[in-house]
Symmetry: C2
Subunit: 226 residues, 2 copies
């Protein structure tokens, strides 16, 4: 293929909210609350994955969920139906959550009776990656239909996540999705990223992911006690 | 399902770039150049759809493409391989293009020999909808695996687009995607939106969409002459 011209267009709109994020993270660590920031593109299956994850963990852990969305409250209703504490955060058109918004969410949710707080971020592979929410861990979902080239195009999202769930593996036969290539692309962005192939629809692979998450939550609780 | 609490979190980061957009739109109209702003979530098939659209129209229209991406130049290479003029715009981490960035792109592309200029915006259903690029028309792609509920969750994107391409209809049998419901949801956001079910993979439905677009481009050329 012939070479193309590349024009750089740069602009900075990213506020420094690192201090707020660090303060929130330290506060939650002191309370033994593990905050998971779950990110993905629209339609990757965040809410269905959460429903499966809650089913796997709710007998052992006390879970609270913050569903961020620009509009609508369909996701929070779905999560509330699982029996765990759930609130909807409306971002008022905003494309991401920052640490201050997350703190407002945490205050509204209440974490005195929560071991695992989950923030379902706005469906977006760009902006949420730019803003540290104060989470204990960032995790993202990439779904098979989106294609294995996404780590090439949304580098920061893959860099900031310590685990990547590859969702919708039940439809692998119908898409040109190369699991070996996606793993290579993800590890190019983040050599330490843990990868979990899952199907939130069928439940395949959920156990391994839920065990990994539960270990993290237990570690946070242990650290707060000791 | 039980009711959930809704917390409103608002913040404004949207710059007013309407004047720049109107100026660019008027300038392009005077030259008889039609600028299409194509938007979608990551992995909806923008580049493949563009390749098919170019194949359908390149004998009749002179086409130039601006591929916006945070990183990488894979898409511009793919488009350049079709034989049309293509440049890559790197947004430097930015999640959308505004009118000023689009003007920089138009200047770099050069539209003296172009009837149809296409901006492939950053893969994102939120931010690109907020910023008028100065385009003659906004069009978006929603792909079947993303789900028919997306107009409920990303309202503005559906409001600002005059046509919606429903891509990946070849995998309809494998997803719980309701075509009747998605049309209702889209028309709730925008009663005038034209909907084209397509498969960029198989080529199904591309002709109807390409004809609609070509009519628009011919109209713009006619207006500039008269």
């Amino acid at each position: 293929m012939k070479d193309v011209r590349i024009i750089e267009i740069k602009e900075s709109v990213f506020a420094d909210n690192d201090r707020d994020a660090d303060a929130l993270r330290a506060e939650l660590a002191g309370k033994g609350v593990f905050l998971l920031n779950l990110m993905s593109a629209p339609g990757s299956g965040k809410t269905t994955t959460l429903t499966r994850t809650i089913e796997a963990l709710k007998d052992e852990l006390r879970i609270g969920v913050m569903e961020a969305d620009i509009d609508s409250d369909v996701d929070a209703k779905t999560i509330a139906a699982t029996g765990v504490k759930a609130i909807q955060l409306h971002t008022g058109g905003m494309c991401h959550l920052d640490a201050d918004m997350t703190r407002q969410g945490i205050n509204a949710l209440g974490v005195e009776d929560v071991d695992l707080a989950i923030l379902e971020n706005v469906g977006n592979l760009v902006c949420p990656a730019e803003f540290d929410t104060g989470a204990s861990a960032n995790v993202m979902i990439l779904s098979v239909p989106e294609g294995h080239d996404k780590p090439l195009k949304y580098p920061l999202m893959f860099e900031v996540c310590e685990a990547v769930l590859i969702n919708k593996i039940d439809v692998l036969p119908y898409f040109d999705f190369d699991m070996t290539q996606v793993e290579e692309h993800i590890h190019m962005r983040n050599p330490n990223a843990v990868i979990f192939p899952i199907s939130a629809k069928t439940g395949e692979g959920i156990e391994a992911w839920a065990n990994w998450l539960a270990d993290k939550v237990r570690g946070a609780r242990q650290n707060a006690i000791s």
